[in-house]
């Protein structure tokens, strides 16, 4: 029987990790977008996602791939070896969330393997099972546990007690498997002798290798730390160069225009603050981030000072987008009518299923009823926009300023 790795190898390029650090493996973007690179697919997988990944890559049904591996593994063990090799070589997909159902299926799969092993024991007879198959199974389970430890995407890998107990259990199973194999093969007396020799040999090798291992480990840790430092420094330098230095240069060239200098300083202050205190806030996902971005845009276009306070948060959807756009329009109005360097207060609160936004300025008020119908500012872009998504807008204006109150329902979370 001639054996071959399943599938067409010409289109099958495992992309190797660029760095050794396994926690931070990055899948590099494919140079050729038409060619899909093979990756392990943790979602929907049984063991490590090798079969799922290969099936997705070559377009076979995943069951066929699994069956091929299984047949090869049972025939002469090559399937198992190939599986392990793919596990090491293929990087895992990290952009898909893990699914609980898939993890349950894996447990079922492992259970089936155990049942299969028991059936084999029945067929081959108890003697062979005790001296040969059972130790190898124990050894294999121990190795599997250790290998899953190595792979951060594997099921059950989380912090806490599991993190420390799993390697211990794995090592214990491997040791037990080896001991049982030797004892079963040559009997207790010879077995103990063989084990002693093995232990002495392993201990000696460990003693010889220990200084080197410790040195290598320390060196790796030191290099990793240095690299993190260097990355952080480079990021800071890039940020300072792109934003702070540019703004300082602009301020110097605008020294005769105090309003412009104040505006530049304010915009840069806001940018720096959000960089320092709200890393990773995404305006397409969070109401709070979207309002902050909206305020920053209005601030840089108009000479207003906008303070945004947000209590709670909501995911962005059509209604929240209307709310943010209407709030932005209200901020623009406040910036225009309340005079240069006007202070505008924006307060947003998500309370249960309602999101409310208040935009307040202290400029001279205006009477909504005296705004002509065809002037679209307040009517169209604030009130109309919100009413179209089932929200409400009210404008309260008086001698002490204007407050626009906006309200919309938050979608199901």
């Amino acid at each position: 029987m001639s054996l071959s790795i399943p599938g067409d190898l010409s289109g099958f390029t495992p992309d190797l990790p660029e760095r050794i650090d396994r926690d931070t493996w990055v899948v590099p973007a494919a140079d050729d977008p038409t060619r899909v690179r093979a990756r392990r697919e943790p979602a929907g997988s049984w063991v490590a996602g090798v079969c799922t990944g290969i099936a997705a890559n070559i377009g076979w049904p995943v069951a066929v791939v699994r069956l091929t591996f299984l047949v090869l593994a049972l025939a002469n063990g090559l399937g198992a070896l190939a599986y392990l090799a793919f596990w090491v070589l293929l990087p895992a997909r990290r952009d898909v969330p893990r699914d609980r159902q898939g993890e349950f299926l894996r447990l079922v799969a492992f259970g089936l393997v155990a049942v299969g092993a028991a059936s084999l024991a029945y067929v081959w007879g108890w003697g062979t099972f005790r001296t040969f198959v059972a130790p190898i199974l124990v050894l294999a389970v121990g190795l599997a546990i250790l290998w899953q430890q190595w792979d951060a995407t594997a099921w059950g890998s989380r912090d806490g007690i599991l993190r420390w107990s799993r390697p211990l259990v794995g090592i214990a199973l491997v040791v037990a498997g080896v001991v049982a194999l030797i004892v079963g093969e040559v009997g207790w007396v010879q077995g103990v002798r063989a084990l002693t020799v093995l232990l002495l040999f392993a201990g000696g090798a460990a003693l010889l290798a220990l200084p080197w291992l410790v040195g290598a480990f320390r060196e790796a840790a030191r290099e990793r730390k240095a690299r993190i430092h260097e990355q952080a420094r480079a990021e800071l330098a890039a940020h300072v160069h792109d934003s702070v230095l540019q703004t300082l240069a602009l301020i110097q060239t605008n020294a005769e225009h105090p309003d412009e200098v104040a505006r530049l300083a304010r915009v840069e202050e806001r940018r720096l603050r959000s960089w320092l205190y709200e890393p990773g806030a995404d305006e397409s996902e969070s109401l709070a981030a979207a309002l902050a971005h909206q305020a920053a845009r209005v601030e840089s276009d108009h000479a207003a000072v906008i303070e945004v306070v947000v209590v709670g948060d909501a995911p962005m959807d059509e209604r929240m987008e209307a709310l943010v756009a209407a709030a932005g329009e209200a901020m623009v109005n406040a910036g225009k009518h309340a005079g240069p360097r006007a202070r505008v207060s924006v307060f947003a609160e998500v309370d249960g299923d309602q999101a409310r936004v208040f935009v307040r300025d202290r400029g001279p008020g205006f009477d909504l009823h005296r705004v002509p119908e065809d002037r679209l500012g307040v009517r169209g872009s604030i009130i109309g926009r919100l009413e179209r998504v089932g929200g409400r807008a009210r404008v309260a204006s008086g001698p002490e300023g204007t407050e626009v109150r906006l309200e919309a329902e938050v979608g199901n979370r």
């Binding site: 603050r273 306070v309 209590v311 709670g312 505008v344 307060f347 609160e349 307040r360």
Partner: protein, 210 residues
């Protein structure tokens, strides 16, 4: 009688800026640029109000507040900061500051805040009010203690402050007197200082403020 003020800030420009904007009824009787000299000056002149920068060379505002804990009955502290970071603000409030204002505040507003603190009332910036609403948000599963909840009225006041209302405007919006608003503010400040709510305790622990 005028209010006696000490300004603690490591930037001389901020200190002179504050001094230049003070009205007649507030008198600057001392200033300091770091923690040690601040403690000495405050103990020497026993001012009514200390305007205290959150970030100071030699140990930050927390060190000053801890060293002056025995003076809290007669000397009130108003924190001044450029930082929006909640942890900075909460730490100084938990240590006894009567309020918090940002450095972008204008002179009349600052004077009003100093007067309010001198009378023993609380001063909340919109951002601090927003943070209070956040920290006391929702039902309290871990405790039913009165300290761990805001009353509806206190929430209303906090919301209006967060919306940029002055005390007077908040009072007229709620159809109550300014004094009532001040009472609510002081109650909230007390809860902010003493509550063991998880969120507050976490900020405090992070900054070794117990």
């Amino acid at each position: 009688m005028s209010i006696r003020l000490v300004v603690v800030d490591d930037h001389a420009m901020v200190r002179s800026g504050v001094a230049a904007g003070l009205p007649d009824d507030i008198e600057m009787v001392g200033q300091a640029g770091d923690v040690d000299s601040a403690i000495t000056v405050i103990r020497d002149v026993r001012p009514d109000v200390v305007l205290l920068d959150v970030h100071l060379p030699g140990g930050n505002a927390a060190a000053v507040l801890t060293a002056c804990a025995d003076l809290m009955a007669t000397t009130r502290f108003l924190a001044l900061s450029v930082s929006d970071a909640a942890e900075d603000v909460i730490a100084v409030v938990r240590l006894g500051a009567r309020g918090y204002v940002t450095k972008s505040i204008d002179a009349p507003e600052l004077a009003a805040s100093i007067r309010r603190v001198a009378e023993g009332d609380a001063v909340f910036s919109p951002r601090l009010a927003g943070f209070v609403l956040d920290a006391f948000h929702g039902g309290v599963a871990e405790s039913d203690a009165e300290l761990d909840r805001l009353t509806n009225r206190e929430k209303d006041v906090m919301r209006l402050i967060a919306r940029g209302y002055t005390y007077r405007e908040a009072a007229s919006e709620l159809f109550v007197s300014v004094k009532t608003v001040e009472t609510h503010m002081s109650a909230v400040l007390r809860k902010l200082q003493l509550s063991n709510r998880h969120e507050l305790a976490r900020w405090a622990r992070g900054h070794r403020v117990v």
